[in-house]
Amino acid sequence: MRESLFDRLRIRSSVRCGYLLLALGGASVATAAEWSGYLGAEVRAYEESPEHVGQDNGGLATIVFEPEFYAEWEDGYQSIEFSPYFRWDSQDDERSLIDIRELSYLKVAGDWEFRVGISKVFWGVAESQHLVDVVNQTDLVASLDGEEKLGQAMVQVVNISRWGDFSLFVLPGFRERTFPGEEGRLRGGIVVDSDRSLYESGEGKDHVDVALRWFKILGDFDVGVHYFRGTRRDPLFELQVDGGETSLVPYYEQMDQLGLDLQYTKEGWLLKLEAIARDASSEDYSAAVAGFEYTFYGIFGSSIDAGLLVEGHLDERGEDATTSFNNDIFVGTRLGWNDEADTSLVAGVFRDWKNDSMVGLVEFERRLRGSMKLEIEVQKMGSIDPQDALYPVRRDSYAQIGLKRHF
């Protein structure tokens, strides 16, 4: 039954791709085209009743659907990718979203690559924070770890040479960060009103950002350096009172950022560093995350791999930082069972060494059967200092269980 459905999808997609090829000049080369993706459902329960006025007191359910169409021809030297994203949330309208994560065309021509459209790029090496990864806006309400990103319109040109890979990004169309609504948890006492976002640039959302990146593998080192000029992905906030209602209005500044990401890989060791120096109108600062990952393969004669992760976070702004990664250390473990079900577990604790605030997290996943995946996530707020950026969400410990059906 499933096979026949696949086959039908394949046939339909290859027909469509045929049209596309005609549109692109009717190349007569072999084409591979395919739909894939997942449908997921999550339920989440919070340990405590909410702190802030207006927040819903109860659990929530979320449904996410993310199909992906991919077609390539000319042996993969040309391709298109389309990935819409649908999220529905039972609790918070601001967590419901329709987005285009990907709608791009790629052309690879020898040592040159061109990508045009909406796409996603990842920069960086660290696990507990993604400091240098600034091209795509963070879909903050989807996940606090900053790993969910919104699609970004871009033109990307890459030149590959013996001196490294040079990438130029032209980024029109700024995407605003997602924030929880009034009913939602994991927010501050005052609701963020994204509808009234303000911009430093007179062009507002239409400001065209530019980024340059150089990347090279130098023996055991993977090195990336970037320069970004444009709208800050992380807004500042202005308190606005409108008819007795107080709200926080995001204010997106312009910035110049120079960043470095570096990984040294030797035997079981991965040594990592990400650092940025940022120059914005309201503040100049630098920040870094550095640490290591060491993996013990096949512990106690089993096939289980156990990794130790330690990462330190520093932000020059200290307690004034807009992020919780200011003076923190992350210690965690990654267990991989290497079994048929690809069972894995990541668990760790963030601790602020200045104010002793602590947050713990556990992520577990396992394939059930076929292509059904079970994902369990627990986030536990420990004692949170009033000075810490996490103080407003100190009552928002939760456990979440999700199932994803991949196709």
Binding site: Y70, E72, G76, G110, I217
Partner: protein, 257 residues
């Protein structure tokens, strides 16, 4: 008769002078030489994992590999099934001497991550194949010893033993049966770090490509200690695609599906 005698005279001193170690190495070099010059290949792989109760699950992937002069091969494996790992790709540069380089591409994050290659004795995607069983088999990665001439199903074979140079290997030794006529490996026994028989690998359905290079259609790995088994089925072999280093770099890994 006289000619045969002369040939014997010439060959005899050489054979006498050769130690079992030298002969083992010579055979390994000859096998390697016969497989040199293939340039590059693509193939589809399906792994059928079977546990001791007979339950099976499948892994489907495609593999590209590139022969590198004076070093180990480069390979790029892209997963297609199970669907939750679809799009995940694995890039590996094997080296004749020293550690291999490995990168993993995680499609959900669009992230390339360089990973440690210390995992060589670990199971590849939960199968009975270890990473080191699937990586490019370079002569320099082992020392050798010739054991005996033997017959397998009426076919003349050399039986040699080889010992991994890398202390991170999961094996103390491997017994390798080599078909003398075709210079191909037909069977291997793997002995674990305690020198107990761990696994047997059997190669089935060899086919010759470009009138030179032999590739097995099926590789069956049986784990004697756990009762598990993995069938690795190869299909759609294509040689000489004209690939270069550029088809095996980090950018291509990012774009691969």
């Amino acid at each position: 008769m006289a000619f045969q005698f002369a040939a014997f005279l010439m060959a005899a001193p050489m054979l006498n002078a050769q130690t079992p170690e030298e002969k083992g190495l010579e055979i390994a070099k000859e096998v390697d030489l016969r497989d040199t010059g293939f340039g590059d290949t693509t193939a589809d792989m399906e792994m059928l994992l079977q546990n001791r109760h007979g339950d099976t699950s499948s892994r489907k992937m495609s593999m590209k590999s590139l022969e590198v002069d004076d070093d180990g091969d480069k390979s790029l494996i892209s997963f297609d099934f199970p669907r939750d790992v679809k799009g995940t790709s694995f890039l590996s540069f094997t080296h004749k001497v020293g550690q291999d380089d490995q990168w993993l591409y995680l499609p959900a994050l669009k992230r390339v991550k360089r990973i440690s290659s210390n995992n060589k004795s670990g199971p590849f995607v939960g199968s009975e194949f270890a990473y080191e069983d699937l990586s490019s088999q370079e002569v320099e990665k082992y020392t050798y010893k010739y054991i005996e001439d033997t017959e397998v199903d009426g076919v003349e074979h050399w039986l040699i033993e080889r010992y991994p140079e890398d202390p991170k290997s999961g094996y103390t030794r491997q017994l390798v049966w080599i078909d003398k006529g075709r210079h191909i490996v037909t069977k291997m026994d793997f002995y674990d770090r305690k020198n107990s028989l761990l696994k047997t690998l059997e190669f089935e359905g060899y086919q010759q490509y470009l009138e030179k290079y032999w590739r097995a259609d099926r590789m069956v790995m049986t784990n004697h200690q756990t009762g598990k088994k993995t069938d690795l089925v190869w299909s759609n072999y294509v040689f000489k695609n004209g690939y270069t280093d550029r088809d095996f770099d980090q950018r291509t890994l990012t774009n691969s599906r």
